[in-house]
C-alpha cells in the first residue's frame, strides 16, 4: 500500500498531531461516521470503530458495486446496482445488495449455480483466487450514464434552439453553451489543426471536452448522483487517451509517419535512434494524458476528503469551521481544475491530431532546425 502510506503522510503534514493518525491506523473502520456523537463514542472506545481516513478515502475514490450514500444509525445506506459477470458458465446477474455491504469476502452469494464473494470491490469465485469478468453497472458506470444523459440533455436542448431560430442571437441554454463551443472550436481546435481538416475533428473534440468537464464537475457534487470519482478513474482516462492515440495514428499522413520512422534532415546515423524515440513518443504522449487527468482529479478528491476527515480525526466539532473553510477553498480550486484539465486534455489531443494531418513545407533550413 504505497499509496496508503502516501495518504497517511499527506494527512500527517496537514495535521500538527501526526501521532494521532498513527493510532487511528490500528483500528478497522468500514465507513465514515457522519455524526459527531458517534465520533465521541469512538473516542471512549477506540478499539471498536476507530476512524481510518485512508480506508474511507481509498474506498471513495475507487469504484464500487453499490453506491454508498450515507450512514444512518451505524448502518450504511447505499443504492444497489446490478452485478453483471461473465463467468466460466456464461452470463450471471444479481443485485449488489446481495453482498450485504460485505467487501471482506465473507458473505457468499449464490447466483447462476455459482458462488461469488466481494473482496474489496473485486468479485471472486468463492473460495478461490479466480475472478470472473466483471461488467457490472458499478458506481462509476452509473455516474458515467448520468453524465452522458446530462450531456445529451444539455446539448440536444441547445441544438433545438438552433433548429428553431435561424440566424438569431443565442438565448437561454444556447447562449450558455455557444461561447464554450466556440471556445473549443476557435481557441483549442483552430490553433492546433490546419483549417482544411478542422471540421473533421471539431465534433470529436467538443464531445471530449464536455465529457471530461461535465464529469469532472459531477465528481465535485458531494451527494448522489455526483461525487463519483469517474474522471479520476484510470480506466476512464485510459479509454480517452486510447481514443486520442488511435484517432491520431489512423489519420497520420505520410509526412507524419516519415517524421517518426525516418526523420528528414538529420544525419542518417541518428535516424534509427530518433525513430526509436519518436515511436516511444507515440505512446508516451497519450500515456501522459491518461496519467495527468487521473492524477489531477483523484488528487482533488483526496484533498477534499482529507480536509473533511480532519473533523473525525480530531474527534472534535470545533475543528469543523477550519475544515469547512479549507474544503470550500479546495473545492473552489477544483472547479477551476475541472475546467482546466478538460481544456488541457482537449488541447493536447487537438495538437496531436494537428501534428498527424499537418503538411510540412520543407526546405533545408527547416531540416537543419529539426522538427519535434
Amino acid at each position: 500500500m504505497g499509496l496508503g502510506r502516501f495518504f497517511t503522510l499527506l494527512t500527517a503534514v496537514i495535521l500538527p498531531m501526526g501521532s494521532m493518525v498513527a493510532s487511528e491506523e490500528v483500528g478497522h473502520s468500514e465507513h465514515v461516521s457522519t455524526s459527531v456523537e458517534h465520533a465521541e463514542v469512538e473516542a471512549h472506545a477506540p478499539n471498536e470503530e476507530a476512524f481510518n481516513p485512508n480506508e474511507m478515502i481509498m474506498h471513495h475514490i475507487a469504484d464500487s458495486h453499490g453506491w454508498h450514500i450515507l450512514d444512518w444509525n451505524g448502518h450504511a445506506v447505499s443504492i444497489p446496482l446490478p452485478v453483471i459477470l461473465w463467468t466460466n458458465e456464461g452470463l450471471v446477474m444479481f443485485s449488489s445488495s446481495e453482498f450485504h455491504h460485505d467487501i471482506e469476502g465473507h458473505h457468499v452469494v449464490n447466483a447462476g449455480g455459482q458462488q461469488f464473494v466481494n473482496k474489496h470491490e473485486k468479485i471472486y469465485y468463492a473460495g478461490t483466487e479466480e475472478k470472473p469478468m466483471d461488467f457490472s453497472i458499478t458506481k462509476n458506470v452509473l455516474a458515467l450514464l448520468v453524465g452522458a444523459a446530462l450531456l445529451l440533455l444539455i446539448f440536444f436542448s441547445a441544438a433545438r434552439f438552433y433548429a428553431k431560430n435561424t440566424n438569431k442571437a443565442p438565448r437561454g441554454l444556447a447562449s450558455f453553451v455557444e461561447p464554450l463551443i466556440l471556445f473549443v472550436r476557435d481557441d483549442i481546435a483552430r490553433g492546433a489543426i490546419p483549417e482544411k481538416h478542422l471540421n473533421r475533428f471539431v465534433p470529436y473534440l467538443l464531445t471530449l471536452f464536455f465529457f471530461i468537464w461535465v464529469n469532472n464537475l459531477l465528481g465535485l457534487v458531494p451527494f448522489f448522483p455526483g461525487g463519483a470519482n469517474l474522471t479520476g478513474n484510470i480506466a476512464v482516462t485510459l479509454v480517452l487517451a486510447a481514443f486520442t492515440l488511435v484517432i491520431t495514428n489512423i489519420n497520420g499522413t505520410k509526412d507524419y509517419w516519415m517524421h517518426i520512422v525516418w526523420m528528414p534532415g538529420v544525419p542518417t546515423a541518428l535516424k534509427p535512434i530518433l525513430a526509436l524515440i519518436e515511436l516511444i513518443g507515440v505512446f508516451t504522449k497519450p500515456f501522459s494524458l491518461m496519467i495527468r487527468l487521473f492524477a489531477n482529479i483523484t488528487a482533488g478528491h483526496i484533498l477534499v476528503l482529507s480536509l473533511v476527515s480532519l473533523i473525525f480525526i480530531f474527534e472534535s466539532v470545533w475543528i469543523s469551521p477550519g475544515s469547512i473553510i479549507l474544503t470550500l477553498f479546495i473545492s473552489t480550486l477544483e472547479l477551476l481544475v475541472a475546467a482546466l484539465q478538460a481544456y488541457v486534455f482537449t488541447m493536447l489531443t487537438a495538437m496531436s491530431f494537428g501534428a498527424a494531418v499537418e503538411e510540412h513545407h520543407h526546405d533545408d533550413h527547416a531540416h537543419a532546425d529539426g522538427h519535434h
Binding site: M133, D134, F155, V202
Partner: protein
C-alpha cells in the same frame, strides 16, 4: 495498486458510452449547432459587408452631392460676376454716351450762341451803319443848307488835300 489498475468493466462501459456520445452528439448536437453558428457568422459577415458597401455608396453620393453643390455655387458666382460686369459695362456705356451727348449739346449750344452773337453783331453793325448814314445824311443836309460854311469847309479840305 488498485487505484492504477484499470478495471475491464469500466473500460468497456466507458468505450461504449463515449462512442455513443460521440455519435449522438456529433449527429444531433454539434452538426446542427456548428452549421447554424457558421451560417449565422456568414450572415453577419455578409450584413457587415453590405453595410460597408452601403456606407461607401452613401459616401460616394455625398461626394457627388457636394460636387453638384460646388458646381452650382460656382455657376452662381459666375452668373453674379457676369451680371456685375454687364451692369458695370452698361453704366460705363451710359456714362460714355451721356458725356458724348452732353458734349454734343454743349457744342451745339456753343455754336448757336456764336451764331446768335454773330447775328447780333451783324445787326448792331447794320444799325450802326444805318445810324452813321442817317447822321451823315442829316449833317450833309445841314451843311448843304448853309452853302458858305460848306464852301469854307470844302476849301479847307481842299487845302489840306493840296498840302498833302
Amino acid at each position: 495498486m488498485d487505484l492504477v489498475t484499470p478495471g475491464l468493466g469500466l473500460i468497456v462501459w466507458t468505450t461504449l458510452v463515449f462512442l455513443i456520445l460521440v455519435f449522438l452528439l456529433g449527429k444531433f448536437a454539434w452538426k446542427p449547432i456548428l452549421s447554424a453558428v457558421q451560417a449565422r457568422e456568414e450572415a453577419i459577415d455578409q450584413a457587415l459587408k453590405q453595410a460597408e458597401s452601403a456606407r461607401a455608396e452613401m459616401g460616394k453620393l455625398q461626394a457627388s452631392n457636394e460636387q453638384l453643390l460646388k458646381q452650382a455655387r460656382e455657376e452662381r458666382e459666375a452668373i453674379v460676376k457676369e451680371g456685375r460686369a454687364m451692369r458695370d459695362a452698361m453704366v460705363a456705356e451710359a456714362k460714355e454716351s451721356a458725356s458724348v451727348e452732353a458734349a454734343k449739346i454743349l457744342e451745339s449750344a456753343r455754336t448757336q450762341i456764336h451764331q446768335e452773337k454773330m447775328a447780333a453783331v451783324t445787326e448792331l453793325k447794320n444799325q450802326v451803319a444805318q445810324l452813321a448814314v442817317d447822321m451823315a445824311e442829316k449833317i450833309l443836309r445841314a451843311e448843304l443848307a448853309q452853302p458858305e460854311v460848306a464852301k469854307a469847309n470844302i476849301d479847307r479840305d481842299l487845302k489840306d488835300l493840296n498840302l498833302n
